[in-house]
Amino acid sequence: MITLLKSAERGHSNRGWLDSYFSFSFADYHDPKHMGFRALRVINDDRIQPGQGFGPHAHRDMEIITYVLDGHLLHRDSMGERHILGPNEVQTMSAGTGIVHSEFNASDTEEVHSIQIWILPSREDVTPSYQQIAFSPHEKQGQLRLLAGPQGDATIIHQDARLYVTELAPKQAVRHNLAAGRGAWVQVVRGTASVNELNLSEGDAAALTEESEVTLAGTGEQGGEILLFDLR
């Protein structure tokens, strides 16, 4: 079964410095029908104005993954980590017992377009940690590049969930097998694509349950960039 969430059905907030679309309930946007998908709790599609950002705030017991599409984000946290995150990198913060961090657009001239993802951990009170890895853009072109998972060449999260990214040219396709009982969330973050032959535009998403495979393909004139979550 495939359930679509069109881009326009997402929650939306524009505070001037921050323009966000919420796939699931977040902050002032609350929709009981959209509270998450399995362990996936948050997908926020954020555009942050130059020099602006989120001041220090706390998290507890959450796996927080940030993926930047355009621009650069400056991360600082209570563990003393200070990093700049850009395209073709992924950052994962395990909040565990507690962490305070800030995220600001590192540039005074260019906007940041980033996706922030929260995944519920399989256990509470883990030791807080920060990871950031970079990869070659080729690794996501025409294939799935693992960004986060419980193991592998990726940032490690405390949950039986895997997050992949792929960039697909028109008519280019990738296939991912889903083990029995697992579900998938597909989020088109740039351009257009299809999932199991259903067309999706930028910002659209699809939830797949009781499916044995996910076939993603680039569509339109430019193709698209897609996040794929494989969830228990």
């Binding site: 020099g51 950002g53 001041g55 220090p56 705030h57 706390a58 998290h59 507890r60 600082r76 209570s78 017992t97 507690g98 962490i99 305070v100 800030s102 600001f104």
Partner: protein, 151 residues
């Protein structure tokens, strides 16, 4: 039961007291409190010190709603910016007014650094210096606030 809210207010010109404030905030989060971090505004607005510029950008000053909405307050004053110094005066005046209006009586107050003398007369239910470790202090304050909230 709802989580206690801990307001951590600090003054800092170097980033050092900010670390103590962050540590206290993490302690409060460890004790499953919600936290608000606020920085006392600078007197010297002309400073171009990179840390000061960053902190000005990242933090907002404490407001009345922050104090009224908090179950506990932690104060951290940096070197040279003790509780009676100019940067803190406006905030302390706010606390004094709220104290006279009997709006601080059910709140926990605690401090890191040079603020405690000024806290004594403000009517906090408990003024604590439970530990020199800001992480442990934050945890204790949050636990105390939770206990008061549920009593």
């Amino acid at each position: 039961m709802s989580q206690p809210i801990v307001l951590v207010t600090f003054s800092c010109l170097t980033g050092e007291t900010e670390k103590l404030a962050l540590s206290a905030a993490v302690g409060a989060v460890q004790a499953r409190a919600l936290i608000r971090l606020r920085r006392i505004p600078d007197v010297d607005l002309a400073s171009t010190n990179a840390e000061v510029v960053r902190m000005r950008r990242e933090y907002i000053p404490p407001a009345e709603a922050d104090v009224v909405g908090a179950d506990a307050l932690i104060f951290a004053a940096g070197n040279g910016t003790d509780a009676l110094s100019t940067p803190w005066q406006e905030f302390l005046n706010l606390l004094l007014r709220l104290s006279k209006e009997d709006k601080l009586g059910r709140k926990v107050g605690a401090s890191i650094g040079g603020v405690p003398a000024a806290l004594g007369g403000l009517g906090f239910l408990t003024v604590t210096q439970l530990s020199s470790d800001p992480l442990a202090l934050g945890r204790s304050v949050a636990e105390m606030a939770r206990s008061l909230k549920s009593s």
